[in-house]
């Protein structure tokens, strides 16, 4: 296994302090970027790295940056998405807790490349330790002159702020996040205009996930091609953190090449199924990714390959379910989650998620009716592709895939309940 990059400081003592970070070569990428590179060059390197957004949508990071207009009437902003709320996902937290300077350094480079002077990091409210560590790192960076006015004497200014969320999954959605950052409910905005044009405080805004930003110093230091080469042969795109949870022997975060087969993640890295049971189902990319059956797990963990088989890469969070798993209950948990987290702004998601949750709860109680499964499918189809933001589709993913791929189990539940 190659040497870890993103997770190299996980579990390492005092890695969060500036001294240790610098000792380990920290902030060299920032120096290189600010003193040796032109902004366009940085964007080019990031482009070459094949780095795709690690927040879920997988949009190429370099390309996103290039959408920001050079001249704009309003100030430009960087917003780092640390709302990590996708069930099964717990990869950004250790980055912030153990390697906060990587986030700060990544932010400085990003802002320099795009011409931004104000960066905010939106951290979910529960991550108190992450917030402490980030604030500590930011203070250290200010003291060292890495943040604030005239950084490294290069005439570049940057302020950085930590913003604490307050409990709402939808604030992970980029426009919901912007609303929340502005002191409102986190309800998504209509697009267009896209945040790259009209974002935070009406200014052009780059929004990237913590893991995306933390990868930037490595890319700048070692080159885009180097990072791209870390991905699986023929796939590229670097390495990624895969948080594995559920019925595996060794749950944990695995830093692996993009394109690593799902089977390898489950059986090799995570040690296989707990108690050597049989695998029943696996969600490959956080709760919103459609579930896979055991015969589908040879898929390389990468955006296009997962899309091809009808699922998605999402946050890369692998949730493993063994043969004893009650899938009706599991789907109920997920449906209640989406119903609880729907922001309520658009009709199909507001009403549809609640309806699906009610039906599946009823089935679980043994009061299901034979028409219920078709109703769930038709509700899901009524939501799919028709909502304002992707949360609606996120709820549809598990609903449709569970009910169609494991229909027999649901039908049995209904029959027994009725009998």
């Amino acid at each position: 296994m190659p040497k870890p990059i993103l997770s190299k400081n996980f579990g390492k003592k005092n890695a969060h302090s500036l001294g240790v970070y610098i000792q380990d070569g920290g902030y060299e990428a920032m120096k290189k970027a600010l003193t040796e590179m032109k902004p366009e060059q940085i964007i080019q390197e990031v482009d070459k790295s094949g780095l795709k957004g690690r927040g879920g949508a997988g949009f190429p990071v370099g390309k996103k940056w290039s959408f920001i207009p050079k001249e704009a009437p309003k100030p430009k902003y960087l917003v780092i998405n640390a709302d990590e709320g996708e069930p099964g996902t717990y990869k950004d937290r250790p980055i912030m807790e153990c390697d906060p300077h990587a986030v700060v350094e990544g932010a400085i480079i990003t802002c320099f490349a795009v011409g931004i002077h104000w960066a905010g990091i939106y951290v979910r409210g529960e991550y108190v330790k992450s917030i402490e560590r980030l604030e500590g790192a930011i203070n250290e960076a200010y003291a060292k002159g890495y943040l604030g006015k005239n950084i490294l004497g290069m005439g570049f200014d940057l302020d950085m702020v930590v913003h604490r969320g307050a409990g709402a999954y939808i604030c992970g959605e980029e426009t919901g996040l912007l609303e929340s950052f502005e002191g409102k409910k986190g309800q998504p905005r209509m697009k267009p205009p896209f945040p790259a044009i009209v974002g935070l405080f009406q200014g052009p805004t780059v929004i990237n996930n913590v893991e995306s930003i933390a990868a930037i110093p490595h890319i700048v230091k070692n080159g885009g091609e180097w990072f791209n080469g870390l991905g699986a042969p023929g796939i590229g795109g670097g390495v990624k953190l895969f948080p594995v949870s559920g019925h595996v022997k060794k749950p944990g975060i695995y830093e692996l090449p993009m394109g690593t087969p799902l089977r390898e993640i489950i059986y090799k890295h995570a040690g296989g199924i707990r108690g050597d049971k049989k695998l029943k189902a696996v969600i490959p990319g956080g709760a919103s990714a459609p579930v896979l059956k055991p015969e589908e797990i040879d898929v390389p963990m990468e955006y296009a390959n997962l899309a091809k088989i009808g699922s998605m890469m999402g946050s890369g969070a692998v949730i493993v379910m063994d043969e004893d798993t009650d899938l009706v209950k599991t789907l109920r948990v997920l449906m209640c989650f989406y119903a609880h987290e729907s922001c309520g702004k658009c009709t199909p998601c507001r009403e549809g998620t609640g309806w699906m949750a009610k039906i599946i709860k009823r089935i679980e109680k043994g009061e299901g009716e034979s028409a219920d499964l078709d109703t769930i499918v038709s509700i899901a189809n009524g939501i799919r592709g028709r909502t304002l933001c992707p949360l609606g589709d996120a709820a549809v993913g598990p609903a449709l895939s569970f009910v169609t791929k494991f229909r027999q189990e649901f039908e049995d539940y209904i029959k027994v309940g009725a009998g």
């Binding site: 409910k185 119903a339 987290e341 658009c346 009709t347 199909p348 609640g354 028709r386």
Partner: protein, 539 residues
């Protein structure tokens, strides 16, 4: 300018036009809840989805701008299926209130369901409980269970009324509209909430449970509440048993006019209509006998009035007559008044400007401090400044120099107070012509019942000098008559006077005689009114 095809028809529109607006131009109406032409877009309800050729998904027509060569379909099976689905989503948590809902008959949800769905409910679970009969302010009631969370009301308060006082609390299917607990909406534009709410969630207390909407007739009018001249529609019934006994007019709603009121009405104007059917309406001619008024008939009172005026002119000259009309009257009423008093009787003491007439409280949006719809018209007709001021007339009545005072809808006691009361009670002949009993009417010797703005044809000139028409919706209550008609009948008895049969004839004469109205006709004024070319210094 992009050209696109919608349902096989081509249309060219301005850059930036939305698909929904482009379709409207072709007469294709796309169902919608959250979209409102005067509010910001939120893209929330998803009712307006349409199919765009080569687009992977249906798109919301209310927010997506057209592109050149775009091909749009608004009625494909895919679109219809989506509409059905959105309606089903809305209805799962919607109460079965139609039979008692004030919005029934003009409810978007009802109409769309009828047009696009008509499918039986598949919902077997419990509905979300929300607040019902919430008192939102002086005039509004909220039923949260009927709300489709389109946020029109929230946006209206914030963007139009300038008061961020409504919000949506909680989230998901528990989202609920409301004011901050215990607070009320306070602005003067609440009534619009009932208009823009696409369903029966926000209803006006004034209209609550009074009449089924489909029993109401509608006629275009102008709000008489102030000099702004907001375009309105009066809703009324012709059969008294349809609603509340004795009530014929049930509400005023706004009519779109970009140059005047956009698409809003203020509450002062909207709910000012109640005088029309109120118990203090003057419905028969009457004469004072001792302390009391005694019912009379038109012939008698017109005879008394004419002979009274004639005697005063003969004995003391025209300067012994004073006339105070109200700028509530139409141009036609005022022109007919002018013909009678200044042409036939040569009276110069005519003044509509009671002190303080224009001293109400206005606001920045619509409501003007001057609460009269035709002040500008009265000015243009020269009904002030030719003789004594209204205030001076009071003095002269007291000293006995003015013997007869003719009030047309005006109320000097209200504006001048005791001094006027004293003067009026000393007048030898006090004639009151108007729609409702008031403090000045109380002192009159003769009462001539006039018609209200919904009971006659005519025109008002608003503060900007915009000439606009009002239309007759109802017959005058009891024996009341339009003021121009009363003056015509009086005129005949006092000299040579045109025999007007219609308000339009009065207007034609006025258009011939009075400069700013030259060349105009009812037809030219049209439903949206027309801006007059005003004499210098009067714009």
């Amino acid at each position: 300018m992009p050209t696109l095809t919608i349902d096989d028809q081509q249309v060219t529109v301005d850059q930036g036009t939305t698909i929904l607006d482009a379709a409207k131009k072709l007469g294709i109406s796309i169902p919608h809840f959250c979209y409102h032409p005067r509010l910001t877009k939120v893209d929330a309800c998803r009712m307006c989805l349409v199919e765009v050729k080569d687009a992977p998904k249906l798109v919301t027509s209310c927010s997506n701008a057209v592109r050149d060569n775009m091909v749009v379909f608004t009625g494909t099976p895919k679109v219809e299926e989506a509409r059905k689905s959105i309606l089903e989503f809305i209805l799962i948590n919607h109460p079965l209130d139609c039979p008692i809902c004030d919005k029934a008959g003009e409810c978007k949800l009802q109409d769309y369901y009828f047009r696009h769905s008509r499918q039986p409910s598949r919902f077997k679970d419990y509905k979300v409980k929300k607040h019902k009969v919430v008192d939102l302010g002086a005039t509004m009631v909220l039923d949260s269970e009927r709300c489709v969370v389109c946020s029109r009301c929230v946006r209206f308060c914030k963007e139009v009324a300038g008061e961020e006082n409504l919000g949506i609390f909680n989230r998901g299917d528990h989202s609920e509209i409301g004011t901050y607990p215990g607070k009320k909406i306070e602005h003067n534009y609440q009534g619009n909430l009932a208009d823009i709410c696409p369903v029966g969630a926000l209803t006006a207390k004034d209209f609550r449970f009074k009449c089924r909407s489909w029993l109401l007739c509608k006629v275009d009018t102008i709000c008489p509440g102030c000099s702004n001249g907001c375009n309105a529609v009066v809703h009324f019934t012709l059969r008294s048993f349809d609603g509340i006994k004795g009530q014929r007019v049930f509400r005023l709603t706004p009519r779109e006019n970009n140059d005047v009121n956009k698409i809003w009405l203020c509450d002062v104007g909207r709910w000012g209509y109640s005088f029309i059917d109120s118990i203090d309406r003057l419905t028969t001619p009457a004469l004072k006998k001792g302390e009391d008024f005694v019912k009379s008939d038109w012939d008698t009172v017109l005879r008394e009035t004419a002979s009274g005026l004639k005697t005063v002119v003969e004995r003391y000259g025209p300067s012994a007559i004073g006339v105070i009309p109200s700028p509530h009257l139409t141009n036609e009423d005022l022109y007919a008044l002018k013909c009678l008093f200044s042409c036939v009787l040569k009276v110069t003491n005519i003044d509509f400007k009671l002190p303080g007439l224009d001293k109400g409280e206005g606001d920045k949006l619509l409501l003007k401090a001057d609460r009269h719809p035709n002040t500008r018209g009265a000015e243009l007709l020269g009904l002030s400044g030719t003789g004594l001021s209204a205030e001076a007339m009071m003095e002269k009545v007291k000293t006995g120099e003015i013997k007869a005072l003719y009030l047309v809808g005006s109320d000097p006691v209200k504006y001048i107070g005791e001094k006027a009361e004293e003067a009026l009670s000393r007048a030898e002949l006090l004639i009151f012509q108007g729609t409702n009993f008031n403090a000045s009417c109380k002192l009159a010797h003769v009462i001539l019942p006039g018609a209200t703005f919904v009971e006659k044809e005519g025109t008002f000139t608003n503060y900007q000098g915009r000439l606009q028409r009002i239309n007759k919706a109802l017959e005058p209550l009891g024996e009341a008559q339009a003021d121009w008609e009363i003056f015509t009948r009086l005129g005949k008895r006092l000299g040579s006077y045109p025999s007007y049969k219609y308000a339009e004839e009065v207007f034609k004469d006025m258009a011939r005689e009075v400069a700013p109205f030259t060349g105009l006709s009812y037809q030219k004024i049209g439903p949206q009114g027309i801006k007059l070319t005003l004499p210098e210094g009067k714009s």
